[in-house]
Amino acid sequence: MNDSNGQIAAAIAQATTPDTETRLELYRSMQACRMMEQRAYDLFMQNLIKGTSHLALGQEAVAAGFGAAMRKDDYSFCTYRGHNHTLVRGVSMTGILGELMGRECGLLSGKGGSMHLMSMEHGVLGSYAIIGAHMPIAAGAAWSAQYRKSGQVAVCFFGDGTTNIGAFHESLNFAAIWSLPVVYVCENNLYMEYTPISQVTAVENPAADRASAHGLEPVLIDGNDVDLVFATANAALDKARSGDGPSLIEVQTYRHGGHSRADPGKYRPDEEVAAWMKRDPVVTYRQRLLDAGIDAASLDTIDAEVAARVDKAEETARNSAPPSLDIAETDLWADGSSSWRN
């Protein structure tokens, strides 16, 4: 049942550069994430998004790489920092921005909010805002896929800080002993909220150094390199789909902004921020594509298309009404009601 044998490392080593079409799609996907999140930021500033919200600016390569590798019917589970992971599955941008703004057109009609994006029809099985909670739920979806022999894989995204909560370990052990088709992706962005992860973690690589505790192969990659993320995702998805069980993948990345709306991120050393800004996954990938001979015009076209899409989504969401108060108490139960008495 255990697998510390380097299956994923071997597959990555053998992976070839994606074809141009795929690379353009990866680029488009990252740009869509980038521009949508930037727009979300602007909408906060205009107080059109209330409450809180957690942007994944700077972490686009992870969502884009996995999104491109996943089968349409695979499942994804993400956190409150889950706008990108939701978008890359094909969910409407209007639905996402509308939900952030609490409008009728929102993905959940305003009942969920920024931290809880979900779209069952796209296999987006939810965004969860309690640290670690979605990890065993993802195992459950994988268990169900295994039971139904559907060939689906569940992919579960979470942060470095999540590796210190109990549910992380329970889930990995559980997935390992049942050989579940689930891929756990730890996005190590160096911080759990405002606290450097190194200050509260007994090992250097919070996920990778814990893989062996559950019989898993340690996998640690540059999460700002979308080609590498894509190759790694393919390897882990293939492994899961062929019955070889779960993977735990730590990707190293960085968020460009603060933890959430309220946070200017001032606790981060200037040099650290500067170093990571140089590794911006969108900017560096654009350069890589140019270096590979792709012409700037194609990339500019993508940028323009994405920008137009974001504008359109914002406009639609802005023009959408607040949700009808009739839905405030519906859909607690399968019958659509919330009635607890006769």
């Binding site: 979806a141 139904r148 109990g166 052990n173 559980f174 139960w333």
Partner: protein
């Protein structure tokens, strides 16, 4: 009619539903090979095999998380949490995830799952293995809450819980496992949300749940025989959905209500029913509403002490008499 123990009715219900629906699967600690620490699940592994009936590690969050994930993707899982006190180690999955996700998702997904657990005192297991937590569950929107008092209801209500499209917490009272009763032959399903009027009287309505039901019945006998007081006894059976219709009908008739609950004093289901009646049926009341509960304390372990704190038939009688004064 077959004579089954409350314990045997558990596996009878699960087997009935597993035969009927391949999507019903069952996981928990020691539920498969060992047949359960209370022997409630014997025979299931043999009949349904290790893919459908599966032992887990001691990882309650993983057990219930997996149950949730399976339920939202097409299965109808049943999970066992061995003792209800252990819900505290996986409470997040129950209250923040299972209970809220359908609502938050604007109805995109359903959670047809059941979590069974041995609940309550009387077995001298001490404070961490004896608590009654049906009131914890009732306080959380999005959970259905069932607690049977007889073997027939164990079978029928558990079957209904498994078929129900919503999450059901199913509390088996551990000191009732050895009790026996008639259970209808063949398929047996008792709808959730219907209270059971076990005895009709005219002077007072006694509302009870699980292990308190036989005690309330005994109290009603004593009241009748020794004091000429005629009591209705209602087994609530399910706290959510709550059959206020049946309870209100009886209270309107008798004008007096006594609730008998095993959970600790504060914020129990008795308080909920009492305050419902105080709000909606106030003008029908002929006297105060009395709650009989375990005091607001953990349960002590020694038999003498445990017996002293849990509501007894005698204490029920005394409280009704106080009311009749």
């Amino acid at each position: 009619m077959a004579q089954l123990s409350y314990r045997e009715a558990v596996s009878a219900a699960i087997a009935q539903e597993m035969r009927r629906d391949d999507n019903v699967v069952f996981i928990g600690e020691d539920i498969a090979a060992a047949g359960g620490v209370f022997k409630t699940t014997e025979g299931l592994l043999d009949e349904f095999g290790p893919i459908r009936v599966r032992d887990t590690p001691i990882s309650e969050q993983a057990i219930l998380g997996a149950t949730m994930g399976a339920a939202m993707t097409g299965l109808r899982p049943i999970a066992e949490i061995m003792f209800s006190d252990f819900f505290a180690v996986c409470w997040d999955i129950v209250v923040n995830q299972i209970a809220k996700t359908r609502f938050m998702s604007d109805g995109q997904c359903t959670f047809p799952l059941v979590i069974r657990s041995a609940n309550g005192g009387g077995a001298r297991f001490g404070a961490q293995h004896s608590q009654s937590i049906e009131n914890w569950a009732m306080a959380v929107p999005g959970l259905k809450v069932v607690a049977p008092s007889s073997a027939a209801d164990v079978k029928g209500l558990l079957a209904a819980a498994i078929r129900d499209p919503d999450p059901v917490l199913f509390f088996e009272q551990k000191s009732l496992y050895g009790t026996k009763g008639d259970v209808p032959e063949g398929e047996h399903v008792v709808p959730l949300g219907k209270a059971n009027v076990l005895r009709e009287g005219s002077d007072v309505t006694i509302v009870a749940l699980a292990a308190m039901v036989p005690r309330a019945m005994k109290a009603a006998d004593t009241l009748q025989q020794e004091h000429g007081i005629s009591a209705t006894v209602i087994d609530v059976r399910s706290l959510v959905p709550l059959d206020t219709t049946t309870i209100f009908e009886s209270v309107s008739k008798t004008g007096r209500l006594v609730t008998v609950e095993e959970n600790p004093r504060l914020c129990g289901w008795g308080a909920e029913i009492s305050s419902l009646v105080a709000e909606e049926l106030f003008w029908d009341l002929e006297g105060p509403i009395v709650r009989v509960t375990t005091p607001h304390c953990p349960l002590p372990s020694a038999d003498a002490l445990e017996d002293a704190v849990m509501p007894s038939a005698e204490r029920i009688v005394a409280n009704v008499l106080k009311l009749a004064d």
